[in-house]
């Protein structure tokens, strides 16, 4: 991903998004500007309703903005048709979801091959690429296991392998550790760091300060606006709690709490979802 810094991977200028819910208009984004260079590791934090999910959907090209400009590698997304958007999602963006979103009865291999199927990669090449991706996430030995035979962490690794298999410019993760216990979540974050050190651009959307603390840059959102955007020194593998928790609870997008590395240990018990919920049926 050798990109010059003058040429941002993602460029967002005064982006707005208005949802119409019956008579009411919901302003999910009220003018967001953001530029992300190749090779960055960015966390987008904020409470639910802050607009971070909407922003993520825009960045992931799953949704179109109401106003403003969004460019991926210089291409303006509003000018693209449905097929071109699908192609961009397929080639440039890898998605990692909170609930993994794996197909219920497919082997790890088949899961990882899915984006390659839509990219039209030949069967033989696809198998090789999928094996490589699974090896990169440390699952080279479990290519023929189905989700029910894998732990939550392993399932998320499969999902990450699926996200990186097509060598995207950007990995977009939505609460990637939200369904994992602290230890397993830690492994996933370590994996992210490895991938980042290999040159991958990462955007992690989270309300968990522990997760945000691992990023090199934290973008805080509130009420549809970016209220803070700061570069930080990422914390390394965190034997939480390293620091006393601040007074404000974790999801509050207060600038202070976010910029405190490892400020908030995992206070709420995380749900461990061993079974896949609906990615396929």
């Amino acid at each position: 991903m050798a990109q010059s810094t003058t040429n941002p991977l993602i460029e967002i200028v005064d982006l707005t998004k208005v949802y119409k819910m019956g008579e009411m208009e919901v302003h999910a984004l009220r003018g967001v500007s953001l530029s992300i260079q190749p090779g960055e590791y960015v966390a987008i934090v904020g409470t639910s309703g802050s607009g971070k999910s909407t922003l993520m959907n825009m960045i992931g090209l799953l949704d179109q903005p109401t106003g403003g400009i969004y460019r991926v590698r210089g291409t303006e997304s509003q000018k693209l048709g449905k097929k071109a958007l699908a192609d961009l999602r397929n080639r440039e963006i890898g998605f990692v979801f909170q609930r993994f979103n794996l197909l219920a009865r497919a082997t790890a291999m088949r899961q990882v091959e899915l984006p390659l199927f839509y990219a039209g990669v030949s069967n033989r090449k696809s198998r090789q690429m999928a094996t490589d991706a699974l090896t990169r996430v440390g699952l080279g030995e479990r290519t023929h296991h189905r989700p029910e035979e894998l732990s939550g962490g392993q399932q998320q690794r499969v999902a990450i392998a699926r996200a990186i298999v097509n060598q995207p410019s950007l990995l977009l993760a939505d609460e990637p550790t939200g369904a994992l216990d602290t230890h397993t979540g830690e492994e996933i974050l370590t994996l992210f760091e490895e991938l980042h050190s290999q040159g991958l651009t990462l955007i992690v959307v989270t309300h968990d300060p522990d997760v945000a603390a691992r990023a090199h840059r934290v973008v805080t959102m509130r009420d549809g606006l970016i209220v803070e955007d700061r570069v930080q020194v990422p914390s390394k593998a965190a034997p939480a709690p390293a620091f006393p928790a601040p007074a404000v609870p974790a999801p509050q997008p207060e600038a202070d709490s976010v910029t405190q590395p490892s400020a908030q240990p995992a206070t709420q018990p995380r749900v461990i979802l061993e079974t896949l919920d609906g990615a396929a049926a």
Binding site: G60, L62, A86, F95, N101, R105, L114, Y118, A280, A281
Partner: protein
């Protein structure tokens, strides 16, 4: 070919939901089986009946007294019969009837056949030598009459297969005496079994003169003995209409019918008989087939139903696939191919099942014809299945395509 890869996706989806797939296919399976088995039985029956008729010779013509109307042959009573030996002789003229090769008059009556204590009511048919050839008879035992025996009006008897069985149990009928109207007749032969209907199986055959004279004292018309039927053969199948026309012309002339008089006789050929039977079995087949077609339709709607459920159930999967770069057309094809695979697979299972049922039906005692399941019907049934998969799969597939990826991903 990218489209081939959707078959893998479809097969994976079907095999990971075996129970649901089988239930979905059940409607199609039953529909196809119903269509194939009913059509097979209809065709088998038609083939069996036409086969019997054909075995009696497709060139055969039968002239009967009385007009043929929709109710069948209206048999004139014996005394008013105008069909005579003279008519038979006239038809035998090869110069006036170049397309009629054999003419065999017959006089049929009904009488008790008595052997010792055994006593059966049978048809007794007086015939000439040519009848043996015209009717394609074969001898099982013994022999047929000679020309001299027929001319001499010998008291000899040839029995149909069933008649012989009924009269003689564990006894060789040849040389035995049968009493008909108190006249003793010696059995000289037994005919091979013909099967079917209207055959000679339960008849007793005697020389024509004996039946017309001593046995039944046939009426005379203008000095000639009357006959109950005249059998004739056309020289070939194609010339049956010509032969019919020649006979009709002669008989109308001899019976002095005016131009606007209707025939006082009927000429029945096998082809017209086949037509009648063909139209009956055809109607039956269409009727049964349409019942099957309705169940196919119901099966198709079942497919649509399940596919709609499946789309809802897989909302999240669809959202994921779109996020991973699937085009709308990819989603459309995935669901369409899945519906197609389900219906065609169901159709093929139905084909297999209908062969099994066809075989089973053939094993039922007394069911004396084959269930004929032709390749054309199979192709038609599978094509209809594929079409219904396409038609009934399209709407659910379009629903899947229209799903918003964000909404779909958020769906729980």
């Amino acid at each position: 070919m990218k489209i081939l890869r959707y078959f893998n996706v479809a097969l994976e989806s079907i095999f990971s939901h075996k129970m649901r797939a089988i239930l979905t296919m059940l409607g199609i399976i039953i529909g196809v089986t119903a269509v194939l088995v009913t059509m097979g039985i209809g065709r088998g029956a038609a083939a069996s009946i036409t086969g019997e008729i054909a075995s009696q010779g497709t060139t055969q013509l039968t002239v009967m007294p009385g007009a043929l109307n929709t109710g069948g042959v209206r048999q004139a009573s014996g005394s008013s019969s105008t069909l005579t030996m003279g008519d038979a002789e006239a038809i035998s003229d090869r110069i006036l009837h170049p397309n009629v090769v054999l003419v065999a008059p017959a006089y049929t009556g009904s009488s008790q056949l008595v052997v010792g204590d055994t006593n059966n009511q049978n048809q007794v048919v007086g015939v000439t030598m040519d009848m043996f050839i015209v009717r394609n008879w074969e001898m099982e035992y013994g022999r047929f009459f000679t020309q001299e025996e027929i001319e001499d009006q010998a008291h000899l008897l040839v029995l149909g297969a069933t008649a012989a069985k009924d009269l003689f149990v564990n006894v060789n009928p040849i040389g035995q005496t049968v009493r008909v109207k108190n006249e003793p007749f010696t059995v000289i032969g037994v005919l091979s079994e013909e099967g079917g209907f209207g055959g000679a199986d339960d008849q007793a055959i005697v020389p024509l003169g004996v039946a017309q004279g001593r046995l039944f004292n046939a009426a005379r018309y203008r000095g000639d003995y009357t006959v109950t039927s005249i059998y004739a053969n056309a020289s070939s199948e194609e010339l049956v209409p010509m032969a019919k026309a020649e006979i009709e012309r002669t008989l109308r002339m001899r019976h002095q019918l005016d131009v606007d008089d209707s025939n006082d006789f009927s000429i029945i050929d096998q082809a017209s008989l086949l037509d009648i039977i063909g139209s009956i079995t055809g109607t039956l087949t269409i009727f049964l087939g349409s019942i099957g077609a309705i169940s196919l339709l119901v099966g198709g709607i079942g497919i649509m139903n399940i596919m709609l459920v499946s789309v809802t159930e897989r909302t999240k999967e669809i959202g994921l696939r779109k996020a991973l770069g699937a085009y709308d057309s990819d989603i459309l094809l995935q669901f369409l191919v899945e519906a197609l695979v389900l219906t065609v697979l169901g159709g093929l299972i139905g084909v297999g099942l209908s062969f099994g049922i066809g075989w089973l039906v053939g094993q039922i005692p007394g069911f004396d014809f084959e269930v004929l399941i032709g390749i054309d019907i199979i192709i038609l049934a599978v094509a209809v299945c594929a079409a219904s998969g396409f038609i009934f799969g399209l709407y659910p597939a379009m629903r899947a395509t229209r799903l918003d990826p964000i909404e779909a991903l958020r769906y729980e």
